[in-house]
């Protein structure tokens, strides 16, 4: 008995040791993650609503622009920490997958805007502060309820007066259902499903709090993609056989019929053998040998790729490894991250993707240029669309608060609706569904572009024609 007890005690001790080792590894990993973030990140996020002293990191400016006129044109790059005492900060909540590149960029884009605004004295004389909740929604196995719990915390515990974020349309759709209860403006910077805006039209009084800032909605994404295919047919008239390869998620099910209707009219032939005319693969897939085999045997010359998740990393690697003689051109969210090149070990070369025109690497205006310069300087990487969206969202909300003279969520809505602001992606205005309005001309709306991966951290714009350079086909085609 004594021996058995002693054996059990030894086993228990080993179990405790293993738990300690795991905790230590987690701790080191967390420390590494936090310590590698730019200094401006940690200081600007360290404030709490429970204290009257707020700390913010500021960017000193040589060009001063008041918040009511829109996004300031920051030209200087020196950072210093300033402290404002005795003023209650205004709290913006960042709600997204904070360990994923989409969420990290949301966080960083918002931090940059908050830093700039606080450097100009804040809003209504009060500094802005950010709070964060992780929805983990980039992981397809994480349920919608995790996002809802995070939303509940950000409003009731963190006391966010404006919510910025979102990534997965199913999660954001569920979060949108909570807005009548919380009455807090929600500026979406990731989910693109057009149905999100339909809720606003169907029941305005309940869902008027929702706004889609970035990217443009799925209908506009389809419009942009079809416009590009029309242009591509003009520059490469012999490449007409298209294989549609899409994740099995709602947003692509809505977009594929549009492509099926318009691509043949533009001179393309859809060669999918599947009965629905598209090859849908599960979100989160890791093996694409079947799909690539089907692409090859179909005789396709173009793969119209539609992917919102990280699965495209493996898709593109398999495409390149097997040297499938068809060029992938479409919407690939993971590929919008500069890290995609490294993730695919360079297999991303030649992939051509749709991005916001502010994300091509070639800024379209001074605001975009400054945003790019500051973002890449502080975070040592290039922003993706969620960073632009969060950056613009902070300014949109700040401007509305400044004009309304209050942080009351319901009172802010008319002012957010009237937004007319120039940002890195063009002019931001909202339609009746509270979706940012798409326009091929970035001086009139939010515009899109198609870019081709050419090297590490390097895209070449191949559409619209005003900025297009020749597309390069893979050597095995």
């Amino acid at each position: 008995m004594l021996t058995r007890r002693s054996g059990m005690a030894r086993s228990a001790a080993i179990a405790v040791l293993i738990v300690i080792v795991i905790a230590a590894v987690a701790g080191v990993a967390s420390y590494y993650y936090v310590s590698t973030a730019p200094a401006s990140t940690s200081t600007s996020t360290s404030t709490s609503t429970s204290t009257a002293t707020s700390t913010a990191t500021s960017v000193s400016t040589s060009t001063q622009t008041v918040i009511s006129t829109g996004i300031s044109t920051i030209t200087s790059t020196s950072i210093k920490t300033v402290t404002s005492t005795g003023v209650q900060p205004i709290t913006f909540g960042i709600l997204g997958p904070l360990t994923d590149v989409t969420g990290i960029d949301e966080k960083e884009g918002a931090e940059l805007a908050v830093t700039e605004i606080n450097a100009h004295g804040g809003v209504l004389g009060r500094p802005l502060q950010l709070v964060y909740e992780d929805t983990q929604e980039a992981d397809p196995t994480i349920p919608v309820s995790t996002g809802l719990a995070a939303m509940n915390r950000i409003v009731t515990v963190d006391h966010a007066q404006v919510i910025i974020g979102g990534e997965r349309s199913d999660v954001v759709l569920a979060e949108e259902q909570q807005l009548p209860k919380y009455k807090v403006p929600f500026l979406d910077t990731g989910a693109a499903d057009t149905s999100l805006g339909q809720q606003v039209i169907a029941n305005y009084s309940l869902y008027k709090y929702f706004f889609m800032v970035s990217p443009v909605n799925s209908t506009a994404l389809a419009t942009g993609l079809i416009s590009y295919y029309g242009y591509f047919h003009y520059v490469e008239p012999n490449l007409t056989k298209v294989y549609i390869l899409a994740e099995d998620i709602a947003v692509w099910h809505a977009l594929v019929p549009v492509l099926q209707a318009y691509l043949p009219a533009l001179g393309f032939t859809i060669v999918n053998p599947q009965s629905g005319g598209a090859d849908y693969f599960p979100y989160g897939s890791t093996d694409f040998t079947t799909q690539m085999s089907n692409v090859r045997s179909s005789g396709a010359q173009v793969i119209c790729i539609l992917a919102a998740g990280q699965d495209s990393v493996q898709l593109i690697q398999t495409w390149a490894n097997l040297q499938v003689p068809a060029i992938p051109m479409g919407i690939d969210v993971a590929s919008e991250s500069p890290s995609f090149w490294g993730q695919t070990n360079g297999a991303a070369k030649y992939e051509t993707i749709e991005v916001g025109i502010g994300d091509t690497g070639t800024p379209i205006n001074t605001i975009g240029a400054n945003f790019y310069q500051n973002y890449s300087k502080y975070y040592n990487t290039l922003p993706i669309y969620t960073a632009d969206g969060a950056y613009e969202s902070v300014y949109i909300a700040a401007q509305a608060i400044e004009k309304a003279g209050t942080t009351n969520g319901t009172a802010l809505i008319p002012y957010i609706e009237k937004t007319n602001m120039t940002g890195p992606d063009g002019v931001i205005t909202f339609d009746k569904s509270h979706n940012v309005i798409y326009n091929p001309d970035y001086t009139k709306g939010a515009a899109l572009s198609m870019v081709q991966w050419t090297a590490y951290n390097a895209y070449t714009p191949v559409w619209p024609p005003t900025v297009a350079k020749p597309i390069t086909l893979p050597p095995w085609m």
């Binding site: 086993s11 228990a12 993650y33 590149v101 849908y280 493996q314 070990n345």
Partner: protein, 285 residues
Amino acid sequence: MVLPEIFVFGGLLGAVYALLSLGFSLSYGVARILNLAHGSFYMIGGYAYYVFLTLSGVNSVESLVLAVALTFLLGVALYLGLVRPVRSAPVRVLLITLSAAIVVQEVVSLAFGDRGVGAPFIVGGISSPLGVVVENQRILAAVVSLAMFLGVWLLIRTTKLGRAVRAVAQDAEAASLMGINDTRISLVTLGLSGATAGIAGALLGPLTGISPDAWLNATVVAFAVVILGGLGSIPGTFLAAFLVSYSQVFVAFEISSSYEIIVPLAVIAVAVLVRPKGLLGRVEE
């Protein structure tokens, strides 16, 4: 029907499935441990190979060996630290191994992020067996998996250690009376279980990418293979691995890849309902 594609891809995948499931079969058949963290060894094997290769400067073969050694040790640690104290209660074993898998997923997610990682191939290039274009890495994964499977099978069938393992599998109490150390055999079994799943992850990871949640699908596949083949039956595991892989590839090619994931789950349900002891199992569980 694309028969050459189904034949080639199903065969290559089946070999890796066989190795992945072998440890799961051994740990239940010998040590009577239903280890729901089995897929974690697969995931850790993939990450370990990636870390050793990209961060430590060792070459791909050395990385593979180190990843296998690490997963062997983790199998031993899992048994000593978590399973042994609750081994007499199967439900507690299920709960503690499931909990361990989820904790490991979160730790890996914290360390490497939710997005997967993709390590460089051990061998590059492509080949065209039967006119089907496949990566050489995929062929290597299948060949190494078959060799490892054969090696473990020979170990079990022909060595003194293997005889002890089989003795414990047949009757642990009688084996103990004959002087066989049950704890030592269980340690070896869990270590082998970890190592075989780990090498499967290290070989397949560069092809499919490895993400923190990769353990779940690996566990489901191993579970399906072992249930179908018969718990504890090595030949049954081998046969079932190919049946599951061919079924998956057939569904992916002929119906839709969206339904591919359903195959192992359907296999579990059908096997439990129609033939609970599996294809070559001896005892109904």
